[in-house]
Amino acid sequence: MTEHAKNLSRRNAIKAVGASVATAAVVAVATDKSQAKSDRKVHYAMVIDTRRCTGCHACTVACKAEFDVPLAANRSWVEYVEKGNYPNVSRNFLPRLCNQCSKPQCVDVCPTGATYKRSEDGIVVVDADICIGCKYCVQACPYDMRFINPRTGTAEKCDFCIHRVKQGLVPSCVNTCQGRARIFGDMLDPESEVSKLIANFPVTVLRQEMGTEPNVYYIDADHTGEQDGERMGQYVRVDNFRPDKERR
């Protein structure tokens, strides 16, 4: 069919549906709306309120179950930060997951383009069909979030449960968190819970000095590391419950 004929037949079809200008206008508005909804960008972020975390590891387990994460690897975990000399002691919990950075170093170094940041929602993902397992991203992540899955030989990490989020659900770790310490949402929506928490509380991100602009925000996080103990004159122990892996 030529372009001209196509236009004619489309015009006829519209005429057949209803010639009134009003109907056409309503249809046009409706299409605009649905268009706007699917194109609307979101910027997913997580707020972790460490005051509500009890260190129960339910998020770690939910994540392992959700993705069948191989033994000795984690996409998300909880660290215990113990410090102080008796009787002034404390234990704080620090849940960890991929920060879905706005300036992800892992994306910058990927030689095949297998890992990229989705422009529509800001999630950093790995395409296992392209990834060759060179481990450059594993080296480059300042948060040690990536590992090579021995089954596929490709890099893996937390992706905010993209398969759940697409369906309108929250990530599995958020869903399971019994203290509601993990809160997930859209930072571009000023009415979302994450937007309000970030606005209302002093929040920090991990390793801000790396310039990665993380999108996981912590309320009341203890950033103490074991190397700080000597300077503070205090006992400090950090346990990340990860076999074979130091906190990095």
Partner: protein, 324 residues
């Protein structure tokens, strides 16, 4: 427990590809210097050994890193034939990742150096034979390609703030100088093994002098690069200075670094080469070096080059940023 994501295959690759790229650059420059004045004719055999070694070393090194790829390991574990060739994905795209640019540079360098080596293969190859035009053109490509391969590994390691020991612009310079130095040592070693020391042959001695003297200069530059590397890490304070402690007395890699690299790989060859180069340089005596000494000096430089890669690659992975 520490995790070594990049182990011996990568270390071996960094060493072999570095030395191969260095040999390519040295061979090409030696050949080109003779463009007008017969210099290339005199030192044709220097260029020949470098040209023949370069593609072999780079190709062997490159095959080594394939063993470090997660996709290749998974292919062997699960019997998936196609995953063995998943690294082809590197060449379906190009981006600003140092590894992407480096892979392309490496591929072009291997192909060009193989073609360059081809021009030296006939037994009667000499500086004025029928392949000389092709040889000269490939040598022009060989100089920048060798430098590109020699320098990109340092850029690749240096690109990550998450690895404070590596995250230094001086690392690329250090790797480049070390690559060229091990390239010269490779040529020295091959020449000594296949030709002996030619004590009576003035021309061969001239070539040997060229090699030893330039190696001496390169080791000097390498000492400067190491000094700058350590000084800047130390003075940056914070994570780099903290990571650098691993190379200083009391650190896990200190012995290997100071004895294996600085003493065995740099200072000893300097002493040996100085003993034979200085009389020629200062007093214009004819140059003569026993074959054994030449082999020893070249081997020490090569050992030093390997130890440097080993120490840097391992130390960079067992140190980490401070704070969280």
């Amino acid at each position: 427990m520490f995790e070594l994501n990049w182990g011996l295959p990568v270390i071996g690759y960094l060493f072999l590809a570095g030395a191969g790229a260095g040999a390519l650059t040295v061979s090409s420059s030696v050949l080109l210097r003779g463009g007008g004045g017969g210099f290339g004719g005199d030192h044709f055999r220097v260029a020949k050994y470098g040209a023949l070694a370069a593609p072999v070393m780079m190709a062997v090194g490159t095959s080594l890193i394939i063993f470090e790829l997660g996709s290749f390991k998974a292919a062997l574990d699960h019997g998936n034939f196609w995953w063995m060739f998943k690294w082809i994905n590197l060449f379906l795209t190009i981006n600003l990742s140092p590894m992407s640019i480096g892979s392309w540079a490496l591929m072009v360098a291997i192909l060009a150096s193989a073609a360059y080596a081809y021009t030296f293969i006939p037994k009667d190859a000499h500086s004025d034979d029928h392949r000389k035009d092709l040889r000269r053109k490939l040598a022009w490509a060989g100089v920048p390609l060798g430098i590109a391969v020699g320098i990109y590994t340092g850029v690749m390691l240096g690109a990550m703030p998450s690895r404070p020991l590596w995250n230094s612009p001086v690392l690329a310079a250090l790797f480049l100088v070390s690559a060229i130095s091990t390239g010269v040592a490779t040529i020295m070693l091959l020449k000594a093994i296949f030709e002996g020391s030619h004590n009576g042959d003035t021309q061969a001695n001239q070539s040997n002098y060229l090699l030893s003297a330039s190696d001496l200069l390169l080791i000097g530059l390498e000492l400067v690069a190491v000094f700058l590397f350590m000084m800047f890490a130390k003075l940056t304070i914070g994570a780099p200075a903290e990571a650098l402690k691993i190379l200083f007395p009391g650190g896990q890699m200190a012995n290997l670094f100071w004895i294996g690299f600085i003493v065995v790989g740099l200072l000893l060859p300097v002493v040996i080469e100085m003993k034979y180069v200085l009389p020629t340089l200062l007093n214009h005596r004819p140059y003569a070096i026993p074959m054994g000494m030449e082999i020893l000096a070249a081997s020490l430089v090569l050992i030093g080059g390997f130890v440097l890669r080993y120490v840097i690659v391992v130390a960079g992975q067992i140190t980490h940023p401070i704070g969280l």
